[in-house]
Assembly symmetry: C2
């Protein structure tokens, strides 16, 4: 596409949205778009999914739930380099945030799950995570009368199966978006929402090329990119990224670009969790991906901008889980 055609297209798009008011027009030329509020879903399915998300009975031990590693009190992460799994297994990779994960082009760092539903089944059956099986998890749920009633009202059938379980968890996760960050307010036309330093940080973020990968409403999550473009990334973590899915050598060390939404809350950073602070992460990304050594002042500005990406966190009542029945298979944490 020539620069002229691109310009025409941009003008055309700008004209198209002109009727929808200043707010959208203001953001239409930006590489980042505001997070859109979650659309109302089937409430019964979402409520069921919320309970399942918090229920450690989906693990062999009865101790680990989805929320253990994607903790909604903590930006949808566990804030650990890599997660703690069954029998204190040390996880192989940093747990990505569940917040806004519905916007990802695929799930997991290597994109091996096409969507949230496909992802949700993974940890349940992973021996180093929840260490259960889909069959046993379903047996547990099927033995709990109040769950069976909820499956019935959510799906019209009281037969529990893993398809319904993961569908419900995914439906809940789709509600976990974080609109109304200060940056989004700015995008929508509230020019006072950011201060001078934050705006300078945003300009630097764009001008330095960060938005080449961190763009769209999730500020990432929409492409796989090589980690270590200008310089290789040195880590003891053995993960090789997308090659594990495609088998193609060209995909070695390609990872899904993480969202930067709520990045203030989702430390530590990178697939190995080795960057403890935003300052470290910005410094490393500048050097390795862009060949830039940001000054402390530049780094501070970019970090100040990144902190404006913290949106309204999902807010809901702590779910109350239905009790097991006498027939429910008991958790086995220690054998």
């Amino acid at each position: 596409m020539t620069r002229h055609r691109l310009l025409s297209l941009t003008i055309g798009l700008t004209t198209m949205v002109a009727g929808t008011g200043l707010a959208q027009a203001a953001s239409s030329n930006e590489p980042i778009q505001p997070v859109v509020k979650a659309k109302p879903q089937n409430a019964a399915v979402v409520e069921l999914g919320k309970k399942l998300y918090f229920d450690p009975r989906l693990s062999k031990s009865g101790f680990i739930s989805c929320n253990s590693c994607h903790n909604l009190s903590m930006g949808g992460t566990d804030n650990l380099k890599t997660s703690v799994g069954h029998n204190w297994h040390q996880g192989p990779i940093n747990a990505p945030t569940v917040l806004n994960s519905s916007m990802n082009l695929a799930q997991f760092w290597d994109g091996r799950a096409a969507d949230l539903k496909a992802q949700a089944g993974g940890p349940i059956a992973n021996p180093g995570e929840m260490a259960f099986t889909h069959e046993l998890a379903v047996d547990v749920l099927q033995s709990i009368p109040a769950y069976v009633a909820e499956f019935k009202s959510a799906f019209g059938s009281d037969k529990v199966d893993i398809d319904k379980v993961t569908k419900a968890i995914a439906a809940f996760e789709e509600t976990l978006v974080t609109p109304d960050s200060r940056f989004d307010k700015w995008l929508k036309g509230d020019k006072k929402a950011l201060n001078k330093e934050e705006l300078a940080g945003y300009k630097l973020f764009k001008d330095s090329g960060c938005t080449a990968c961190h763009n769209g409403p999730a500020v990432g999550g929409n492409s796989f990119q090589k980690f270590g473009v200008v310089e290789p990334y040195k880590t003891t973590n053995p993960a090789e990224g997308r090659i594990a899915v495609t088998g193609k050598d060209a995909d070695r060390f390609y990872f899904k670009v993480p969202t930067l939404r709520n990045v203030e809350l989702t430390y530590p950073y990178f697939h190995d969790g080795e960057a403890a602070t935003l300052k470290d992460a910005v410094n490393t990304m500048g050097r390795l991906q862009l060949g830039k050594q940001f000054t402390d002042e530049e780094n501070s500005k970019i970090v100040a901008f990144l902190k404006t990406l913290t949106g309204k966190q999902p807010s809901f009542q702590l779910p109350l889980l239905p009790p097991s029945s006498d027939k429910t298979p008991r958790p086995q944490p220690f054998n």
Copy 2:
């Protein structure tokens, strides 16, 4: 006290409450009293305590919070025989429910903590539980600006110390009472709140002598009693109860009588968690404590009554935890 004096006292008490209406009068002769709603406390202290209760940064690993083993989605317990601690340590004893624990005469099965504040510091520093130290936990909190601000508004000082931490957690825990169970409605005069079987179960519960220990508003929690009165209790669990606190041989195998409030939710039962179901627990208690072998029908009635003790569970928004700062010491789950 002679029977005559006791009778006079009872009549006197009954007369005293006569003016407060039918509801109280109806329950004044019962060995169990309704749970009283939590009194409003200092809201800033309670809110801070709620966050601390859910914050895994009070553990060395950054993975275990108070709520891990006293899960408020699950009756304030972990529903495990004994808990999972740091490095997957197998806990020595069943985690008692935090619900209504403010009514206990002391905390822990052996009563070694005088109150909730004294209890709260225990697991933080227990190497097999949260495996941290009070000093390190305070260092973490002191490094988090939003916590410091909350300590300031709750206590008037931005100096974090373990005294304030445990005071706040205890203040939150004091709100975790469960009024309005069906049984309490019945106690307050709603005679339709229980069905025939449940009422028969309550009568049997009293007539069999269960109320000798399980009485008061918490239906327990107000005395230490020997486990295995008529027959010794056989268990591989090495806990010896109150003797660990008093050093007196007479206190061997004396444990705090657990509350039966919400007992439907707080399985498995006994200090070793070896009774998986209420049926098992009622059967064992009948034999060992009262020398009674309940028939299946009697057992069912008592269980039906016990399930009417499930009260209104604490209901609140999942707390959002303030993020760590660059200066916050990082969790150490694996070393």
